[in-house]
């Protein structure tokens, strides 16, 4: 707890660092880097403020956010579920392991045509893509977490005749939480990334489409404004996750 407070106060330096980088950006854009693709921060802020005021950006972000959350919830939820089962039961693991490892390296852009065929070009497809991407980090971390659960913990549950299902829920799950949480955080950022990418494939909604259009319209100010806002959104979402993590994992992180 004290350590957490210390980190929080040190975070100030993190923001100082970011501010310094932004100043460097401003200076570089005004002096030696001259490209339409590298506008000064001040121009980005102005463009961003206008887009925000016009209600354009809030609408764009809102529509992305729900797609992202839907896909993330599905993918991460399934990741934990399948991960716990695969980590715990040999047979489930044997049945799915090969399949998972064959599917994991397939890049989404490569399977866009069949996805369109099966899921259309609208929300369903995008949500699926987000879920697909969120699934694997959670799965891999969950399996690793479940496998690292101490045998004594499991035996305690057995000797008190706790049912296997309840053991999963009350012992295996909390014990693997350090792994699961970190998988969830990895996937959260990934979900955001993939939402944007999926929106670039087709459709006229969301951050991805906005970034794409602004780039092709040579309005790099708006484009970077959206990127910075995206970063901010990711930061805030991660902060929420950290809040959850502090409650769930207080017992784990006392080493720090």
């Amino acid at each position: 707890m004290a350590a957490e407070g210390r980190v929080r106060s040190q975070r100030v330096w993190g923001f100082v660092l970011i501010a310094a980088l932004l100043v460097l950006w401003e200076v570089s854009a005004r002096t030696w880097v001259s490209s339409n693709n590298w506008p000064p921060i001040s121009r980005i802020v102005v463009a961003g403020a206008q887009a925000l005021a016009a209600g354009e950006l809030p609408q764009v972000f809102g529509s992305s956010l729900w797609r992202m959350l839907a896909g993330y919830a599905a993918g991460a939820g399934l990741g934990v579920l399948v991960g716990v089962l695969m980590g715990r039961f040999r047979l489930v693991n044997a049945a799915l392991d090969t399949l998972v490892e064959l599917v994991r390296p397939i890049p989404i852009p490569a399977i866009v045509p069949p996805l369109i065929l099966l899921l259309g070009i609208d929300a369903t497809m995008k949500i699926f893509i987000v879920a697909f991407a969120s699934f694997f980090p959670v799965l891999v971390n969950t399996i690793a977490g479940v496998r690292s659960v101490d045998r004594v913990s499991l035996d305690v549950a057995r000797t008190f005749h706790v049912s296997p299902a309840r053991t999963l829920w009350r012992v295996v799950l909390p014990a693997s939480m350090p792994f699961i949480m970190v998988g969830l955080r990895t996937s959260l950022a990934l979900a955001l990334i993939v939402t944007v990418i999926a929106e670039m494939i087709a459709g006229s909604e969301g951050i991805g489409y906005y970034l794409m259009t602004m780039q092709y319209a040579m309005r790099s100010g708006e484009m970077y404004a959206a990127i910075l806002l995206l970063a901010l959104m990711g930061y805030l979402l991660n902060l929420c996750m950290l809040g959850v993590e502090r409650r769930v994992l207080h017992w784990f992180q006392r080493g720090s």
Partner: protein, 298 residues
């Protein structure tokens, strides 16, 4: 009268102006069509979506349509989109640094040229331009660079020249130390087809009337575009879907929009594709053009 819903995959670039105009001016509604345009990035997902039946019509470049038709996806061109006129300017040009002193294809040997994707139309015409101006296209390196990054790439000497489209072309030319080297489209052949609207044989057989209505309304958009190019309303409509600032739209130099596709032009493209190993075996380019593409419906 009952309205028919039609989903059209487009690309939010200047080339699709007539379609957007026809929509904005209500030409489709007059024909009893409700057209819903779905933008896809660079058109990559457009033809797959068409083949999958998720859209009924897709705007795409001629090369992709030919390649798809070759793989028995049943594509049919129903209307003209964009192309080059009888003389420059085109929608795309080859630019380089002034001090690079690049003039002809011969100068390009051993040099690097930026194209948006290899094995596609920009690449094809870049090669053919090199050939047409006395160079060997195989001695040139073609690097894939997204259009928005091409100017940076030239300026940063990552490439020696770029075959770039509007609005980046105008932006590039307005920068200092940049010059136009050539108009590959026009140099290779006048009146060549670039972008077209395609549908599938399956849809055509079931809905010939819908397609006629679509093309008729679209052609009204073409007429309007050619007549009102540069007007306030024109800028407004274009700006609406491309997000380009209106003042920039006014400065763009555009060829006229066409209502028909020249079958000879398609043949020529197919020949070029063969010449550059993009196509093997027999291909009947006549069968690719539905009648609405050569004879505008009354």
């Amino acid at each position: 009268q009952q309205t028919t819903k039609l989903r059209v995959s487009t690309i939010p670039i200047i080339d699709t102006a007539p379609l957007q105009i026809a929509r904005a001016k209500g030409f489709f509604a007059q024909e009893g069509l409700e057209v819903d345009t779905t933008p896809t990035a660079g058109g990559a997902a457009g033809l797959p979506a068409l083949a999958a039946g998720q859209v009924q019509i897709a705007f795409s470049n001629i090369i992709s349509i030919v390649l798809g038709a070759k793989q028995n996806l049943g594509f049919q061109i129903v209307a003209a989109g964009s192309g080059t006129g009888g003389e420059p300017p085109d929608l795309a040009g080859l630019i380089a640094k002034k001090d690079a002193k690049l003039k002809t294809g011969k100068d390009f040997e051993g040099k690097r040229v930026a194209v948006n994707t290899r094995n596609n139309i920009i690449w094809l015409y870049a090669r053919e331009w090199v050939r047409a101006t006395g160079g060997d296209p195989d001695k040139v390196t073609y690097l894939e660079v997204p259009f928005p990054q091409m100017i940076d790439a030239v300026r940063g000497d990552r490439v020696d020249a770029a075959f770039v489209v509007e609005p980046f072309l105008s932006a590039g030319l307005s920068a200092d130390n940049m010059t136009l080297v050539g108009w590959p489209y026009n140099t290779v052949r006048k009146y060549i087809p670039v972008g077209q609207y395609a549908t599938t044989k399956g849809y055509l057989e079931q809905n010939p009337v819908v397609i006629e209505k679509f093309v008729r309304a679209y052609n009204k958009g073409v007429d309007w575009a050619n007549a009102n190019k540069g007007s306030e309303e024109w800028s407004k409509i274009i700006s609406e879907y491309t997000k380009l600032p209106p003042e920039k739209i006014k400065t763009l130099n555009l060829p006229p929009f066409e209502k028909t596709v020249d079958p000879a032009g398609v043949d020529a493209v197919v020949d070029l594709m063969r010449k550059n190993n993009m196509l093997e075996g027999a291909f009947d380019s006549k069968a690719l053009l539905y009648r609405t593409a050569t004879q505008p419906p009354r």
